[in-house]
């Protein structure tokens, strides 16, 4: 019975997604009272199946239960998440369009792509972070290193000879690597792959020596022992990998690279609605069952206030902006 219910629900969601979106959502006066009165659209600015999509869906399900309305997940991938984010920034600010905001869409994308037409700070009403996934320095098993210091020594001894992989030129994994080179004064050759999965495979096979991989992409390989994790880019250790030190513990000061994910709405969404959503998102992420699903997917459940969220973006725009500038020169 439960299954039939669930399937019927998803069929409904499918038809809603197919029908509602192209027609344009009916323009309703923004009313905080009685919100939400109809289904909410959650733009996931990446394709189905990526870690952002999975995190979005993990949160959307319980959030819709709490709000009492369906949340229709709309995957609008493209150009590193900037296509979907741009659409979200231009949507009606009535609380019925939300988007998943990440390091890619709100920091790296606007920094790397000239064509981005939104301001990641001014054009959004930030709701709350949902999770943070560290970048993990992983190395091929045959590379004769046991610690981050070994990697630095090796790179200093053989400048330019080590290869580090990434999910693409200008991707967050690439910039996390460049940040490491800048912080340690080392030189390595960057080898771009088409995706996190391809880059991870390349470390496993030894085609590249190391990778600053996003946790969801490398966690299972680390656990099964096919690649070695040396450090995580977050300020605190990851509960998923309690034995792996942070970059700072490993001796690289000022290094912080993580991919955070949160929810945001277009700027101008009524404050009461943002407050309500903030409250509900915090409740959802604090639910142990949701937290476990997030953790299994490599994302550490994290929350913050709308103001803190905005500050985080402003800070990182500066940090990443500096890295990208040094690459261009």
């Amino acid at each position: 019975m439960r299954l039939r219910h669930a399937l019927a629900g998803s069929a409904l969601a499918l038809s809603a997604a197919l029908l509602a979106a192209p027609l344009g959502l009916a323009v309703a006066p923004a009313q905080a009272q009685g919100y939400p009165e109809r289904e909410i659209r959650l733009i996931v600015p990446f394709g189905a199946g990526g870690s952002t999509d999975i995190v979005g869906r993990i949160v959307a399900q319980p959030l819709s239960e709490r709000l009492g309305r369906p949340i229709v997940v709309e995957n609008r991938g493209g150009a590193g998440g900037t296509v979907g984010t741009q659409a979200a920034s231009q949507a009606e600010a009535d609380g019925y369009t939300l988007t998943v905001a990440t390091t890619s869409t709100h920091v790296v994308g606007p920094t790397v792509h000239d064509t981005v037409e939104y301001d990641p700070v001014a054009d959004f009403a930030h709701i709350s972070l949902v999770g943070e996934t560290p970048y993990v320095l992983v190395v091929n098993l045959d590379l004769p290193v046991e610690s981050v210091q070994d990697v630095i020594d090796l790179a200093l001894e053989r400048p330019g000879e080590l290869n580090f992989g990434s999910a693409g030129q200008g991707s967050t994994t690439h910039l996390a690597g460049e940040m490491f080179l800048a912080a340690t004064g080392t030189e390595m050759l960057h080898i771009p792959y088409g995706s996190n999965a391809d880059a991870t495979t390349a470390v496993m096979s030894g085609e590249v020596d190391l990778l600053f991989g996003s946790m969801p992409a490398v966690l299972s390989q680390i656990r099964s022992g096919t690649i070695k994790a040396l450090a995580v880019g977050t300020v605190t250790r990851s509960p998923q990998l309690p034995d792996v030190p942070t970059m700072q513990e490993a001796g690289v000061a000022d290094y912080r690279a993580s991919l955070w994910l949160g929810l945001a709405a277009p700027a101008g969404t009524p404050q009461e609605i943002i407050d309500r959503l903030h409250e509900e998102v915090v409740a959802v992420v604090s639910d142990p069952a949701v937290a476990e699903q997030l953790a299994n997917n490599g994302a550490e459940p994290t929350i913050n206030s709308p103001a803190e969220f905005r500050e985080l973006i402003e800070q990182e725009l500066v940090t990443y902006g500096r890295i990208v500038e040094s690459l261009d020169n």
Binding site: G49, D53, A60, A79, V112, T115, Q169, L189, P216, N296
Partner: protein, 499 residues
């Protein structure tokens, strides 16, 4: 017998009532999703993913996997009947499947597809269950250099695929390669041919090109025929469903050859199933006593790619399960589903979660059997689709195309692109240019370029890297052999004579 006890364990899991139910649900849903052009398993699995959070891991994954390979069955159906392929693999099946349908032999074509799919899947499952770990290790030895030389070989093989004048075919391959250059360049990160738009940043989606060049162009072409194309058939006697003994005999060996190719290529993360279908078709055409029958309804041209496609669909689970490396977006989604349930894909999954691993593999067998049982009677139903007058059929097709394409990225822009490619496809039909080589160029081009540039980056610019690595060298030698076959004057004359 380790293998038998493992499979025993697997069937224990997969034959439980709830596992059977979810398997059935998955394959049924997959079949119907596959029939709708453009709406692929990816969107469906994405929508159903949250539901599996509430299911036990094994049942959830069995259902999602069922959708994946069920859609392969369904995709071939609509490709054969209406020349509306939605995937690269079904493009190849349609090359001869659709001409068969036009000749009133849709039923045997569909029955053979179903049987070839089943055979391909079954053989591949044996390989999957017996050799998964060593095969995964082999796949890891494929680096950028190996991928590049493999793709080069694929392109040369495309020359065999070409029907009619060689120059036209090569022109279409080059056009495909050019379309493949649109979008962000992976190495420099700079956009190419995007005209400053974000929509073209990730290149032109393969599905958009397929649906436009084949589906939409076919609709336009049919309408231009006027009354001649009102309907293929008025009535299908049930007897006509049964393929003749000759059909079965003609497709047995091609199915097996296709299965072998598909099983091997499916293991490689990336374009496995698509390349497998093209390769299987090219092989059959190459070794056929009368290659001129191909493209005009040769049953071998249906059986071989179908076997290859389904074998590859099964063996593509090898890298996903044992390396934790997804071959495509759909596999990535399945991987995500597994991780949410706390299952860690990788070499240890066989030891750590034997009931999951073997249960899933056993479910593939059951699922494929269910598909066979489900699809054979459905053939009769699908055939009746052909009796619908075209003036009612084509608006429905257009609506489904629009919905399907829109569901890809929720971009209206994609629909405009489909219209553009539809017009181009119509032009190609009028100019008698085959669109299949274009697709091969489109699939292989970007992969070839990225891997070439990566291989050269890794070797610090030394091109000898392609000769120094044994697997890569093997592909180069095979390619030279193929080239010799195509270019040697005697053989060329023969090709000219038969086309």
């Amino acid at each position: 017998m380790d293998f038998l006890s493992n499979m025993g364990l697997g069937f224990d899991v997969a034959l439980s009532t709830s596992a059977l139910l979810y398997c059935f649900l998955g394959v049924t849903l997959g079949t119907f999703i596959g029939v709708l052009p453009g709406i692929g398993p990816l969107a469906t699995i994405g929508l159903l993913l949250p539901i599996t959070f509430h299911l036990p891991a094994i049942e959830g994954i069995i259902m999602l996997a069922g959708i994946y390979y069920g859609a392969m069955y369904g995709g071939s159906t609509v490709a054969i009947l209406l020349n509306l392929p939605g995937t690269a693999a079904s493009v190849v099946v349609a090359l001869d499947g659709h001409p068969m349908a036009k000749q009133g032999r849709a039923a045997p074509a569909l029955v053979i597809t179903t049987l070839a799919s089943f055979a391909g899947a079954c053989v591949a499952i044996v390989i999957l269950s017996a050799f998964a770990p060593p095969l995964a290790a082999f796949a890891l030895r494929f680096g950028s250099a190996e991928y590049f030389t493999l793709m080069v070989m694929g392109l040369v093989a495309a020359a065999i695929l070409v029907q009619g004048p060689l120059l036209k075919g090569l022109g279409m391959v080059v056009l495909g390669l050019l379309i493949g250059t649109v979008g962000q360049d992976a190495v420099s990160g700079l956009p190419r041919f995007t005209f400053g738009t974000l929509e073209l940043y990730d290149g032109i989606s393969f599905v958009v090109v397929v649906i436009g060049l084949f589906g939409l162009a076919e609709v336009m072409h049919n309408l231009s025929l006027g009354d001649k194309r009102e309907s293929f058939v008025s009535r299908v006697p049930w007897r006509a469903l049964i393929p003749s003994r000759k059909d079965i005999k003609d497709s047995t060996l091609p199915t097996l050859r296709g299965t072998g190719l598909g099983a091997a290529l499916g293991v490689l993360p990336g374009a496995g199933p698509a390349i497998a279908s093209f390769a299987a078709y090219a092989v059959e055409k190459r070794i056929a006593r009368d290659p001129s029958r191909f493209g005009k309804g040769a049953i071998e041209g249906v059986a071989a790619p179908e076997g290859a496609n389904n074998a590859a669909a099964q063996t593509s689970f090898i890298p996903t399960l044992t390396l934790g490396v997804p071959g495509d977006a759909t596999m990535a989604l399945m991987l995500g589903a597994m991780m949410i349930h706390g299952l860690v894909p990788g070499p240890q999954i066989v030891q750590n979660n034997p009931e999951f691993f073997w249960g899933l593999i056993a479910s593939f067998w059951i699922g494929n059997l269910l598909l066979l049982i489900l699809n054979l009677p459905l053939v009769g139903l699908w055939i009746r689709l052909l009796a619908i007058p075209y003036r009612w059929m084509f608006p429905a097709i257009l609506v489904f195309i629009a919905i399907g394409v829109y569901s890809l990225h929720q971009e209206a822009f994609d629909i405009f692109l489909v219209v553009g490619f539809g017009l181009a496809g119509y032009l190609f039909i009028k100019l008698r240019c085959e669109a299949a080589p274009l697709l091969l160029g489109l699939i292989l081009g970007p992969l070839m370029e990225d891997n070439l540039r990566r291989a050269l980056l890794l070797s610090r610019g030394d091109p000898l890297v392609f000769l120094e690595r044994p697997i890569s060298l093997t592909f180069i030698l095979l390619t030279l052999g193929l080239l010799a076959l195509v270019l040697l004057p005697g053989i060329r004359r023969r090709i000219a004579a038969v086309t």
